[in-house]
């Protein structure tokens, strides 16, 4: 069976006056239908850009996808024309964004914006679309959904706007929903509500979800698999158990170490990853993480480690020293 989404050697570059920003570097992975994939990394690590690349929504200029294949349901999206791509966006793949405050158009009603998406991809009358939009708003838990269709975004609270965004994303029953940091701009309690909502919707509707976040805590409870990205590349990938319990990349260890944990000694010090991510304008020759890494050797500075499968199919890591790390644990 072919996977729902398969990405091969994806490269995205931004051609700026300062030089070429290497935002996504040789990313390859696949996703099955109905799977929840978490994509984790610091801001600026290319996780959002790689998602926009799937949708071909990278701002051009200055951005360009320079290499790679994006197979969705057995079709390579990168060979699609803009016209064919339009049909994919919003219907097969939908995306919701980080900031619900700015992601809805302020001069149109919420209802109009959902109806617009519905009528674009389905053969529906206005009345049908409006009815469906009301159902969708009810589905994402907005009380009095029917009446609120005529409200403008500024009349909604932040959490409600994100719910409306989700309703819009789900409107055409996509096979894949890409959620780009959907909870980052929200209060912690609202965050939990949104996470629960998405989990529930996934149970009911069964679409695959790509959940992009910098928060390992959020992703642990919902994802099936996790890709950890650093400097535009995947540096560790695997199912949730492996990533959390059998961490093999020093960067992932750092990320996990910086999470406070309730089940450990409350006096234990939180670890942090020292330094800053590398300049994407001038990536080092070897491992991009070497400058900040405690396991660094000559080899790390000279040669880039490939993403290798370890411990069977469920885990891959890009580090020359993963075995030492496994041993030292």
């Amino acid at each position: 069976m072919t996977p729902l989404l398969e990405i091969k050697n994806l490269k995205t570059r931004f051609f700026t006056s300062e030089g070429v920003v290497k935002a996504v570097n040789n990313v390859s992975y696949s996703m099955e239908s109905g799977e929840i994939l978490g994509v984790v990394g610091e801001s600026g690590c290319g996780k959002s850009v790689h998602a926009l690349s799937i949708m071909q929504l990278v701002q051009d200029p200055p951005g360009k996808i320079t290499n790679g294949e994006v197979w969705l349901d057995g079709k390579d999206l990168l060979t699609f024309s803009e016209k064919e791509m339009k049909k994919i966006r919003g219907s097969d793949v939908a995306m919701i964004f980080q900031d619900p405050m700015t992601s809805l158009n302020p001069v149109f009603t919420v209802g109009f914006q959902i109806v617009e998406a519905l009528r674009l991809h389905n053969d529906m009358t206005k009345a049908e679309a409006r009815e469906r939009a009301g159902e969708l708003l009810a589905l994402v838990g907005i009380p009095g959904a029917e009446q609120r269709l005529d409200d403008y975004p500024h009349q909604f609270s932040g959490g409600m706007r994100q719910r409306a965004m989700i309703a819009m994303g789900l409107s055409c029953e996509p096979k894949l929903l890409i959620a780009d940091e959907p909870t980052t701009a929200l209060d912690v309690t609202i965050q939990a509500q949104i996470v629960d909502l998405v989990k529930k919707l996934q149970d009911d509707l069964g679409m695959a979800i790509m959940w992009i976040t910098h928060d390992l805590g959020v992703i642990a409870e919902m994802a099936d698999r996790i890709n950890v990205m650093y400097a535009g590349a995947i540096i560790e990938s695997g199912n949730v158990r492996n990533i959390y319990k059998k961490t093999r990349h020093p960067y992932t260890m750092g990320l996990l170490g910086s999470l406070p944990r309730l089940d450990e000694d409350p006096g234990a010090e939180l670890l942090s990853v020292p330094g800053l991510p590398p300049d994407l304008l001038a990536l080092p020759k070897g491992c991009a993480f070497a400058a900040r890494c405690g396991y660094r050797t000559e080899k790390c500075l000279e040669e880039k480690p490939p993403l290798e499968e370890i411990d069977g199919r469920e885990h891959a890591v890009a580090c020359w020293h993963w075995e030492e790390i496994a041993g030292s644990k």
Partner: protein
């Protein structure tokens, strides 16, 4: 929405009163005695005094403290300003000092001429400026963008009186395609209904008149439209570019909307807010620029009339003309505020 409009109306009132006050002050402060100016240097003191009495020029400007000192409270308030405000309330703007024609009569003919010219010019500026701005924004950093932006900057930098002269030289003197000035040719009659010749000729199905009036308005309107056109094009471009960076544009694209729907439905409505404001403000420039354009094209509007009034110290003309121009300007901007609320729900509901 209606509450918003009412609130705006109330906030305009102080400005209107302020404007009438400033106009009043200006005409009284212009040096030179209009009575002397009217009667000539050699007039007798007695006849000058009689004229001053007739026009109320012998009264104090605001308050008569000598009357008050004598216990005359009515006399205290009987000043030039109070008389002026009283007359304004009944739309009595007096007669021109030199020609003794009621100001309101002249305004009825001259005001439509200026309005016709200004609105026609604004129409040209909008229908050319906005598409240029949109095309530039959609093709950012391409040669099309650079050419149209430098082009519109040339428009903004244009001395319109000079442009008008060049137009006359080229189209009227050398090519003889269009008339060099005036509003209508001698011998062409248009029945006056609104005194807007283009409108009147359409209403009366007078196609000869319409053609003639159109030919006369084209050159002055183009001259007048140049600066606003450039400004509108540039404003449209920059506000489109701002809006195209917004997250909701990305959302619209992610929904699967095509390029033109994103541009015209999702971006343009948001981008139109600052453009609407600039159009309102440019109306003022148009009305003021009319002074120059009307001079060059012998256009019988209020700009030139007020200018002559200022030079001839004809108070009632200056007062009436300036007042009308300022009120139209305030009115247009009031309308712009309403438009704004209409376009942006955030203003409407707060």
């Amino acid at each position: 929405m209606s509450r918003y409009i009412i609130r705006r109306i109330f906030s305009v009132i102080p400005t209107l009163i302020g404007v009438t006050f400033v106009i009043f002050m200006f005409q009284r402060l212009i040096p030179g005695d209009p009575a002397v100016a009217m009667l000539g240097e050699h007039a007798t003191e007695e006849s000058v005094e009689r004229l001053r009495e007739q026009f109320g020029l012998n009264r104090p400007l605001f308050l008569d403290r000598e009357a008050l000192a004598e216990g005359d409270i009515n006399g205290f308030f009987d000043s030039q300003y109070v008389r002026y405000m009283k007359r304004l309330l009944v739309l009595d703007m007096g007669e021109s000092i030199h020609r003794r024609i009621p100001v309101l009569e002249t305004l009825k003919i001259r005001f439509p001429a200026t309005i016709e010219l200004a609105f026609f010019a604004m129409f040209i500026a909008i229908i050319i400026g906005i598409p240029i701005g949109i095309i530039s924004a959609a093709n950012r950093n391409t040669p099309i963008d650079s050419i149209s932006m430098v082009g519109s900057l040339v428009g903004v930098s244009m001395p319109i009186f000079w442009l008008g002269l060049m137009e006359i030289m080229l189209f009227a003197v050398m090519l003889q395609w269009l008339p060099a000035g005036g509003r209508i040719s001698v011998g062409v009659e248009i029945e006056s209904i609104t005194n807007l010749y283009l409108v009147d000729s359409i209403l009366t199905a007078n196609w000869v008149g319409f053609k003639d009036a159109s030919q006369h308005i084209i050159l002055p309107a183009i001259a007048l439209a140049t600066i606003p056109m450039g400004i509108i094009a540039r404003m449209t471009r920059s506000s489109m570019l701002d809006v195209l960076q917004e997250d909701y544009i990305r959302t619209a694209k992610a929904k699967g909307l095509g390029h033109s729907l994103v541009l015209f439905r999702h971006a343009l409505k948001n981008a139109s807010l600052p453009v609407v404001t600039i159009v309102g403000l440019q109306m003022g420039t148009l009305l003021a620029g009319a002074v120059l354009t009307e001079t060059i094209f012998s256009w019988p509007g209020i700009g030139r009339w007020v200018y002559d009034g200022i030079l001839g110290r004809d108070y009632p003309i200056v007062q009436g003309g300036t007042l009308v121009i300022a009120f139209v300007f305030i009115g247009v901007n009031f309308f712009v505020d309403i438009m704004y609320a209409f376009l942006d729900p955030r203003i409407r509901y707060n």
